[in-house]
Symmetry: C3
Subunit: 269 residues, 3 copies
């Protein structure tokens, strides 16, 4: 597999501490020509599910041969394995805690390696910062062209992740809000194809909290200023928004509790 | 025009979502040697005026041949055009909503192109994320040396933007606060030359809210700790600050309402 | 000394204004092949001590020959000198206000240069933004291989910084909290070696506010979910944390007042 020299980073570290910069320093020390691109460092603390969702949604926009380093790792230092995954033309490096499960599940020929060769780590491994001491050096070595299979042993039993999926019960499709974005848009786990199959010839009735929306719009400004709407977003997911406003505030949900809120879709003709 | 391979990004997307990273992935897929530099992703949601001001203030510090991609785009998906501008040795790519108007207005020989050649976009265009699907690929193609004139048709009627400008009435100069920066400094729209022409031989009396300042200082520490001052800042604009403090808190303006507040300048001998 | 072309940035500028981007534009204009890496721009406003601590903790993870540009500069425009330091294989560029003192103190052969050669600055120097007008161009010139000794005069009297150090009184070791990180972890100024020498054969009794911890753990998940713990962190400092929680909230300290809080260590067998 060709290597682009691009390494993406996704963590829940934030940017106010030097943790991300230390990882970049380690990477550049080993692989001076690599280019590091931040995906985000604002994953909700310890939320493997959110991290897994963002990786799945994002990696395909990078060229094949990119290495995606992800650290959302509440169990750092415990006996969980370090893994690297080769799938769909990309590499993924991080803890074996399910964060790469959606990628593995979608790619039957994914190769998963238990990173047990310590010569690819920093010489001194702390017990609380494997992002810097293990995953950054492994990613850097991969970017220089090192063979993944030399960096550990192939495994077949990676940790799985239960991602919440929509369910159909009687005449309704039940999903949930997965993420509130910077604009206050509520991003659900209902994919376009699932919704279309459920609706068939019918129109939707989308309920979230006290809000009921009976139509799918194409763009935000199809609704009047300050009015709520639903659309299929740029990641092909059902999204609840307010034109020139914040759906997260429009709905009377308690702040910070939007994630996990039920989204119920009915149908009418 | 030479190309530096540098592409700057300015958006109101924030950094907690993967939207900016998706744009970078698209850019690197098309133009692997380009280098992307963030200007800021914290433009106030939908504030074309703030975005336009920051671009105007910033682009000249980059080398000629740089491409400036800007997405503050509340009308995404509507019929507004996509444009690219060549002006003052730089390129600008984004929505035709006025965000580049200050640059166009200052450069009589600016060339403006309606980006209507879809072969320079991603193959699948969503209706809600033109930053990723249109502006990122166009910018990337430009950075590889593609001719701007092949990417669309020259237009003469770009959307204009009413930037608030200072006005002189009777014996006073009236401006307003355009931006509160990270330090709580209040940045006005009164340029050094406008102020100097107004003042002539006189000294200023600067009024904002209940505050009156009768002098221009050179540096923040010319005022005592915790005291307010006015100075001409590094962008040549009149700025109200508090030494080792926050002017935005010192003034009894409601938080978030500073922008737009009137700044009145009188003169005395 | 070889040059890697890497320039790191540390400031208290935040990322919502274009100030950091302007510095990057200036750097790339002078040194097109340099690569700029952000350490952090969220140093507490004006906190030279916090900036100095983060630099000391971080620089060693970058390759030798890296240039570290740091601007925490409440006295910008006053008569304080501009300096560059060569120490431990790295360069450091910024104001002479003590921010590099910990690096200088640790490296007896550090060379310190008063940057008094204006041909290495921007042609127009403002009095309020030396990060852009002085330190960015100097760093860029250094990265192209310019000799540090040609950029100014060697000095022997850099401004020193009083970093708070732990003290031993009667049977106790007294330190303090230096930083609250993104996870709410409380990072003290007590180094592993200082603690180990103090404890000898004894076990610790660590007191912060009302909290008493009688044990050092190895990893966060050694404590039950929501319970406090102490450990030696990845920077070899004593740290107070809460497993899957925030120590900064667990302790009944007023928000924002954690920094400076006393940490007292006793011992028992």
């Amino acid at each position: 597999m060709n290597r682009t020299g691009i390494i993406t980073l996704l963590t829940d570290f934030g940017l106010s501490d030097p943790y991300v910069a230390m990882m970049k320093g380690v990477i550049l020390s080993i692989s001076p020509d690599s280019r590091v691109v931040d995906i985000t460092h604002d994953i909700r603390t310890g939320s493997i599910i959110q991290g897994a969702g963002v990786i799945q949604e994002t990696y395909g926009f990078f060229p094949e041969g990119t290495i995606h380093l992800a650290v959302v790792d509440p169990g750092v230092g415990s006996k969980r394995r370090h893994i690297a995954v080769k799938a769909d033309g990309h590499f993924f490096v991080g803890p074996d805690n399910g964060i790469f499960w959606p990628v593995i599940e979608m790619n039957e020929d994914a190769v998963i390696v238990d990173l047990n060769r310590e010569e690819y780590f920093l010489s001194h491994i702390t017990s609380t910062f494997h992002g810097r001491d293990v995953f950054a050096p492994v990613s850097a070595h991969l970017s220089t062209g090192k063979d993944l299979l030399e960096m550990g042993s192939v495994i077949e039993d990676p940790v799985r992740l239960d991602m919440p999926v929509p369910s159909k019960r009687t005449d309704y499709l039940y999903g949930q809000i997965m993420r509130v974005d910077h604009f206050g848009n509520l991003i659900t786990n209902i994919r376009r194809d699932v919704l279309e199959e459920f609706l068939g010839q019918y129109d939707p009735v989308i309920s979230v909290g006290n809000l009921e929306i009976k139509k799918l719009e194409n763009i935000y400004s199809d609704a009047d200023k300050g009015y709520p709407l639903a659309l299929i977003n740029s990641a092909d997911m059902l999204e609840i928004a307010v034109n020139l406003g914040r759906a997260s505030e429009y709905l009377n949900l308690n702040s910070g509790e939007e994630v996990g809120t039920m989204v119920k879709v009915g149908r009418y003709r």
